[in-house]
């Protein structure tokens, strides 16, 4: 196979907009492409995606490849894998990047196995080896206890990138790019699973991903009741409420509240961690926070190695007076 060229990014559309992760991938992809002296391009898949192409160009795409079909209106793993496969065959990119999202997590491995190449998932840093021109992906392993740099074999080199690990470029409405439509020839028979229903968890107040301040509870909250107190505190701080894995696994709170390796990756200005131990699994989701505050009764808990400020004590005794004082300060 001839040597591939350029960095290709999978674009995702969420709630009628190009998702933040896609803009981040364009930003990160552009840097890799310029180190290679090549171009960055984006794939847009759907039933009508033309309206997102100029936005993609403003955020750095040199080329936009559109794959449109009524069969691609809603995400489905088989049809989307086939669409990307087709673009990869036509474009022969050197590198293919996707977000470590609920779609990228399954599309990237599936496509890699189909193409017979390796893939590095959940990378937080990407770079080009100047001598070999190979892509190096850095990722957390053993639940954050170690970090590894991987190189995948075969072309394209595929990686998924953690949300917020890369920065988008400044939007430049003067930027020019080329838009090309690719017919992927998707037919019904490639689609093997059917989505019967999609449900959305309604969020009251601020969304976790958008919040400047997040109050999170862990296993030590002991049940759903404790989270009501955290919600009161969050209300005063205009904060979102999150959780580590155990409260979600025990159904004390919805699974969409989970912050961590297998939940949401957030980087608020202030992260208040209550009665959670600070496992590596959890810290993977919030270590990008500017200030981490820990409230935990165990002085040996790992969270005190991650936090900049903390109180050692039982949350039941700390949270009510803390909330009261915060209320005074915020309203005063």
């Amino acid at each position: 196979m001839a040597e591939g060229k350029g960095v290709l990014v999978l674009g995702e559309v969420v709630e009628g907009k190009l998702a933040p992760i896609s803009l981040e991938l364009l930003g990160g992809g552009k840097k890799l492409a310029s180190d290679l002296g090549e171009e960055v391009s984006i794939i847009l898949i759907g039933d009508e995606v033309g309206k997102f192409s100029s936005e993609a160009i403003f955020f750095g795409a040199d080329k936009v490849y559109m794959v449109e079909s009524p069969l691609l209106k809603d995400y489905q793993i088989d049809s989307y894998t086939s669409a990307i496969e087709k673009v990869v065959q036509e474009v022969s990119p050197r590198i293919l990047l996707m977000g470590q999202t609920f779609t990228g997590r399954e599309l990237a491995p599936k496509l890699a196995f189909r193409l017979g190449v390796g893939v590095s998932t959940d990378c937080t840093e990407l770079s080009i080896d100047p001598d070999t021109k190979e892509l190096m992906g850095t990722r957390s392993v053993y639940g954050g206890n170690a970090r590894a740099i991987f190189q995948t074999l075969g072309q394209p080199q595929i990686a998924t990138v953690r949300m917020k690990a890369m920065s988008p470029l400044e939007k430049d409405e003067g930027r020019k790019g080329e838009v090309k439509t690719i017919d992927a020839g998707i037919t019904e028979d490639v689609i093997r699973t059917k989505v019967l229903e999609r449900g959305k968890e309604e969020i009251e107040g601020v969304k976790l991903e958008d919040a400047d301040v997040v109050v999170s509870g862990g296993r030590g909250m002991g049940g759903p009741e404790g989270f009501k107190e955290l919600q009161d505190l969050a209300g005063i701080l205009k904060a979102a409420v999150g959780a580590s894995r155990p409260p979600c696994d025990n159904s004390w709170v919805p699974s969409t509240w989970q912050v961590g390796l297998t939940g949401k990756i957030i980087s608020p200005t202030l992260y208040i961690a209550v009665a959670l131990s600070g496992s590596s699994q959890h810290m993977a989701g919030c270590s990008g926070s500017k200030t981490i505050v820990a409230i935990n009764k165990d002085p040996e808990a790992n969270i005190f190695k991650e936090a900049t400020v903390g109180v050692v004590g039982d949350w039941k005794q700390i949270i009510p007076p803390f909330t009261k004082k915060i209320k005074e300060l915020v309203s005063g």
Binding site: R105, E106, T121, G143, I149, Q151, R192, D249, K305, I319
Partner: protein
């Protein structure tokens, strides 16, 4: 309808051991868990087993558990038999050592082809050591069967399965024909407890052990030789955070002092 189910499980160092004490040998590129860290079944693989057991409870069926590795601990993996799996097959050989997602998926898929009859394959969404989340999806692609990932609930009915799959802001219900592969998430629920009788009964049962040649694999496809990723470097993240512990005469005072501190550093 009784289903033929296959569950893939991985043996890992216990991930619940606190983060302090983990070391990395960068020269040989190996993670060294704290001394005394026991091997366990990776938690996501346990959820995958539980999801299969629940289907078996409801409508019967057979569960075959597959595990791949070098130096596997039979006493750890036998737990799967003790909680209700019917058969345990180990892909154990030096040649399987240092496999990556690619060589692991090839070996597991080859073993599944040898087993022959299957309706549902259940895997964890990722393993707690390398956290790649690739093997399950890779097996489905090699076997050319549909897959549903990050499953919270799996139900089988009328030759199909219905899966509740988690999304960032909610869920979706996905239907698939059989055979199908699912990868299971923690929200699905813990593995049932191993009873004393179950453990005793499992001790009397022997696993089947298959070598690469038993599943038609050449050495170049197995373990370290069959990798499609190269581990370039392994190291430990450097942390230099010092926590400022706020105190007080009473919990109330400590709490108030914490609030004042946050105001002082202008984060509220």
């Amino acid at each position: 309808m009784a289903l033929n189910m296959i569950v893939c499980i991985k043996q890992v160092p216990d991930p619940e051991v606190p983060p302090t004490g983990w070391k990395v040998d960068s020269t040989v590129k190996k993670v060294i868990p704290p001394p005394g860290t026991p091997p366990v079944i990776s938690p996501y693989c346990e959820y995958a087993l539980e999801a299969a057991l629940r289907i078996k409870d409801k409508q019967g069926g057979k569960i075959t558990v597959l595990s791949l590795g070098n130096k596997l601990s039979l006493s750890v993996l036998r737990k799967s038999l003790g909680v209700g799996a019917d058969e345990l097959i180990l892909l154990e050989d030096e040649a399987f050592g240092e496999a990556d997602a690619w060589s692991t998926a090839i070996a597991l898929a080859s073993a599944i082809k040898k087993i022959g009859e299957y309706d549902l394959i259940s895997c964890g969404r990722q393993a707690s050591d390398w956290d790649q989340g690739q093997v399950g999806l890779g097996i489905a692609e090699i076997l050319n069967i549909p897959s549903v990932s990050i499953a919270k609930n799996v139900e089988a009915l009328d030759g199909k399965i219905k899966v509740e799959r988690l999304l960032a802001d909610g869920y979706e219900i996905v239907e698939s024909s059989l055979p199908c592969l699912v990868t299971v998430t923690s929200e699905s629920g813990d593995l049932r407890k191993l009873t004393i009788e179950g453990a005793r009964e499992a001790r009397s049962r022997q696993p089947l052990v298959w070598k690469p040649q038993d599943i038609g694999l050449s050495p170049s496809q197995s373990g370290v030789q069959g990798r499609r990723t190269k581990l370039i470097a392994l190291f430990q993240p450097v942390k230099e955070v010092r926590c400022d512990i706020i105190s007080g005469e009473s919990p109330e005072e400590a709490a108030a002092n914490l609030a004042l501190k946050l105001r002082e550093v202008k984060v509220i």
